[in-house]
Symmetry: C2
């Protein structure tokens, strides 16, 4: 019974009750998700109800810049990082700043890639991994990530002092959701927490996986460091640099090495300073390691956020659900990265360097212009992934020559034969879609001949637009050649077996570079037969020529392209001889690496090599034909581009327009000397010619 | 100043204040999003604050089945629907039931597609659009969607009576988010609302777009019906069928026709019964029509949910942000649909028909088996999109012949020549990725020769796995041939110009089918030269043969494949002559459409045609060589598959295993008669042979 005569107090009590109720409701809502977080961080995912373990946190303020740090070294990790970045960009709605700690190889690849990718609202900073090595190289480590994994430990001291928060990711991560939701979890940190981590989804740190398994110390199952939310400011304040070093040194007194690189050390520090860690919901790092317990997490989650391929077997890991996860990964592996060049809705951002001028130039094009496609293709900036596969350039030699060529998917079959004919370095540009790049990768891996060659550099130029950007491709391959000389070839030619050695000897004997500015001509022939026995020497070549089994290149359709080489003289020649430039000359030549670039305005087919030879002549290169050099063109199905060219008067009209513009440029640069080339440029183009 | 001596009242007042404050906070949160929904539905998107117009509704119960209805007719709309479905499947986390109202063409395409796609947790029901036509054909309509657009009006009476709620989508919709979020908006309907719609994002219904523009009546800007949330139960209760008919009939007294099909009628009904409509946030139907005002919506939304390409220009619509939107569309247009064959996390669902047995068979394979790739490839069920492009089969004729062949991207160049050589119907299977299918589409559109042909059916079989499933492809093309006879050819052959007419005449003269079970042999030749003038008659062919410019097919590498055709006899023959089966015979033949299928176990290269000819012989087909028929193989770059075959003893070993199993099957089916084929099957395979 309530005491009577105290209505006010009663009212107040009722109000208090109501208040408590409402307060409860309110707090229930605010903390619903956090409950799982605040629970025992070491309880298994099942205990903490995984379908609740991804509560909807408030999204971060719209347009807030999010920072992401990744350590990446070498060719293969660079490919992995690109897939990770594609998955991140696909779902993101915020501007991003990527902080990439890279070795020289990864830096060259990723710098070129991001520069040519031109994704709006993405900034990239590079940090030199080699400089960080001394800070971690004293730690003995058995993990497959090597020294680079350990570098995550030194990020607080490496990233800019003003940077307070960063998400750190391993390269073998795939996003299946918006990274901003992960960033929003920073808001759940208490005032002292500094490291957000997901529990390790295996029993590794329990130390019971096998007899005498002695893992590093950890709280319960420990944490996985594939995804880390770092409060850099707090770590710096807490003396992180001393903290982890002290712990690591102490543990290494009794343990021989780290088994899981940085993760062992992070866990040991956390065991000592449990207040530092903020446990994160399990879906933010679903770990598909060999002995994974991740199923406890994902089997009840409706929503998967981040997949972590943390087995050395990667996609080939045994897991009954691996196909599901693999599909997420493959989605981004093969995703057309060009489609990620999209701005953010409602977030104004600085356009990437060069993008603004490009947009303006594109906007000025007239869509009704019959040559619109040409103009557009010329302006296209292709995404470029240099040294797509592992590449070990040979030691620098003064007269070495790199074979330079370009191709697309339909010429992959040439690569093995080319490797057999040219034992020296090659720089090849491949024009591929993202999906084709993966087919190419599998093709090389399946070929013992190709897999054995470390001196062939493959540069992927991603497809965009309807016309084959032949000269842009040649320029990419040329720019990546590392030897002092280059042999500018085409993919459907096989050089004489002796050519590589012979060229180096000739360059030395002729004293090129220092004394003479010369282009060495490699005479070109062709066979019309698929079944063809390659002549081992000039003598055999001449015999085949006399027997009608070989022809000089384009003998039937366009003899003018190679006539100035003077095949009759070549038959008898014992020493290199000079020839003069004549209209339409387009020999295959060996020149110094710093030779003029190809004119990128020539896209599709026609005039692309002729213009380059004009340029060499204008710059007063001397043309010297080598008496023992030869290369032979093999037959192939005509490309789609060339079929189109042959059937279209518009195409030929546009080519004439390009030639006119090319000559205007020549006149501007060489004045009256360019008059020499005018008749050649005004000649109408023969559709039978081809490339 | 506070009155003294009333501490209790003071405390109560303070509590009240706190209570109000908390209550306010709580309700502010609960209703934040709903405010935009409850506001004036006709206010422009800007007025209703578009960045708020997509509040986070509670997600629908996990694993709830969502229903989607789409009206689809014809080849082109079928392609559109597939892109829409891909975008929906990519983001969905719920089981889906698709209700497809289709004409016969779309049904054939989509039924085959979904049957072979085998996406878990997707059910598809078909409804016959032709049966619905009488219900809407009385309505004069000027919209490009024709009669089919109007069929959305009759969905409440067409879909199952027990179905209460459905999302109705136009075919030109792309999802950029999870459809469950849209479904969740049903929860916002009041007790009487039955139709959820987004405001029309143009001034069309304001009637001020041009002089004398007289639109149908609508509330303000009206609503767009590209995305509809339908409470079917309520509409049925409200007498929807009478309702819309009455309104339409009345309006058609003064208006000549609907301009925007069903949308005009929906708007007229809503104007009369505004209580029916539930306005939806603008981001759920961002309309890129010609005079769109959508920018008001998307420019401030951080999150785009659904894009609607509701201009007749579709992707070519002029809009300064169209590139952004197009990237969403292209993402799914080119997305590998195989990757969507993934189950839902945590939602148990009936596996698609056949999927369980397939999974079991795949699970039983031994990954260590050197022929694992073969076994896996044989079991692969490829997604099939029949009649990918518009196709108009010629009227049925008793002796008509369809040319049947298969190809991949690297043989597209053959299509034009093939069309010139074969004026009759063709059924071609193309083995492509989703992205390549789009390249193929552009290739056909750009070719006047191909675009002019309506009697060539292109069936896309989507790539999956490392080996070319040559016989599965042949079977797809064969199954889709509509004439009584088929010419089983290969893509790199060009038939004699007269062959189509000659075959039909021969079939008639020989009385095939009714009287005789015969395979008509078309003798095969080859040229090794690209530049080759096709012989207009047998006389010229023989002259080229004698001159060494032509050979009988595989004369150098594998004469046995065609030797039984007896070329010497063919030279002189004036009438068809019978030949006997001999080991390794693999002629190109004309047979009735109901001939035995190819054995799908032969994947990659080798024995695929030989086994089919064995099957014909076992079924006692008589082989008749036609004296005036011939076909000529053109040279081409060797395919990647064949290069692999030639270099791999494992590959050849696996092929021998396939042959052994093939023979076991033959024995099972034909008993002792199969003994005849045993020696042929035990012969080792020659790597030089090829296909």
């Amino acid at each position: 019974m309530l005491p009577r005569g105290r209505p006010r107090a009663l009212g107040a009590a009722a109000l208090l009750l109501l208040l408590l109720l409402l307060g409860f409701l309110l707090f229930d809502w605010r903390l619903r998700g956090a409950a799982a977080l605040d629970g025992d961080p070491l309880a298994g995912p099942r205990d903490s109800n995984p379908s609740d373990c991804g509560p909807q946190p408030l999204p971060p303020p719209k347009c807030e810049l999010l920072h992401v740090a990744i350590v990446c070294a070498g060719h293969n990790s660079s490919r992995d990082v690109i897939t990770l970045v594609k998955s991140m960009l696909f779902y993101r709605k915020n501007p991003l700043h990527l902080h990439l700690v890279t070795d020289a190889v990864a830096r060259n690849i990723l710098e070129t890639l991001f520069h040519t990718w031109m994704v709006p609202a993405v900034r990239v900073s590079f940090y030199d991994a080699d400089e960080l090595k001394p800070q971690v190289s004293w730690i003995p480590n058995k993990h497959y990530s090597g020294l680079y994994g350990l570098m995550k430990l030194v990020l607080p001291g490496t990233l800019p002092a003003e940077l307070a928060r960063v998400i750190v990711l391993d390269t073998d991560i795939t996003f299946a959701s918006d990274i901003a939701e992960l960033w929003a979890l920073f808001a759940h940190f208490s005032d002292t927490q500094a490291i957000g981590l997901v529990e390790n989804q295996s029993d590794w740190y329990l130390g019971n996986l096998w007899k005498n398994h002695r893992p590093w110390p950890a709280l319960g199952r420990g944490f996985n460091t594939g995804v880390i939310l770092l409060r850099l400011d707090r770590l710096r304040q807490a003396g992180w640099e001393q903290m982890w070093r002290l712990t690591a040194r102490r543990e290494l007194l009794t343990l021989p090495a780290t088994s899981l690189a940085d993760q062992d050390i992070f866990n040991a520090v956390i065991k000592e300073h449990p207040g530092l860690v903020r446990p994160l919901p399990c879906v933010w790092n679903v770990q598909l390691s060999d002995h994974t317990l991740a199923e406890r997490c994902y089997s009840e989650a409706s929503d998967l956020k981040v997949i972590h391929w943390n087995s050395p077997k990667k996609l080939r890991v045994k897991n009954k659900h691996v196909k599901l996860f693999r599909n997420f990964y493959l989605t981004f592996l093969e995703y057309d990265g060009n489609l990620l060049r999209r701005g953010l809705f409602g977030c104004p951002s600085q356009p990437p360097s060069g993008a603004e001028q490009l947009q303006q130039a594109l906007a000025q094009l007239d869509e009704e212009d019959p040559c619109f496609e040409f103009r557009q293709q010329q302006l296209t900036v292709h995404r470029v992934h240099v040294t797509f596969l592992p590449h070990e350039p040979p030691p620098s030699q003064p007269h070495d020559v790199t074979l330079v060529a370009q191709l697309s998917m339909d010429r992959l079959q040439m690569l093995e034969a080319l490797c057999r004919h040219w034992p020296g370095p090659m720089s090849l540009a491949l024009y591929l879609t993202d999906a084709e790049a993966q087919q190419f990768l599998r093709f090389v891996e399946a070929s013992p001949v190709l897999a054995a060659r470390q001196d062939v550099a493959y540069h992927v130029v991603y497809r965009e637009g309807p016309l084959y950007p032949v000269n842009q491709l040649r320029n990419v391959a040329l720019a990546q050649a590392l030897t002092p000389y280059v042999f500018l070839s085409d993919i459907d030619f096989l050089p004489a077996y002796s050519l590589y050695d012979y060229l180096r000897a000739s360059i030395e004997q002729l004293g090129l570079g220092s004394r003479r500015k010369a282009a060495l001509v490699v005479p070109a022939f062709e066979t019309l037969h698929y079944r063809f026995s390659f002549p081992p020497s000039k003598v055999e070549l001449l015999a085949l020529l006399d027997a009608g089994a070989l022809y000089t290149f384009r003998y039937h359709e366009w003899p003018r392209g190679h006539a100035p080489t003077d095949y009759a003289r070549w038959r008898e020649a014992q020493a290199p001889y000079g020839v003069q430039w004549v209209a339409n000359y387009e020999p295959y030549v060996v020149v110094p690496r710093d030779c003029p670039r190809y004119d990128p305005r020539f896209v599709g087919f026609g005039w692309n090599k002729v213009a380059h030879i004009v340029e060499l002549d204008a710059q007063e290169y001397e043309f010297l034909v080598l008496p023992e050099a030869f290369t032979i063109h093999l037959p192939h199905t005509p490309s789609l581009d060339i079929s189109r060219f042959r059937s279209s008067p518009t195409y030929r009209g546009c080519l004439q327009a390009l030639k006119d513009e090319f000559h205007q440029d020549l006149s501007r640069r060489y004045g009256a000397a360019a008059l020499k080339y005018l008749p050649a440029l005004q000649q109408p183009w023969s559709p039978a010619r081809g490339s």
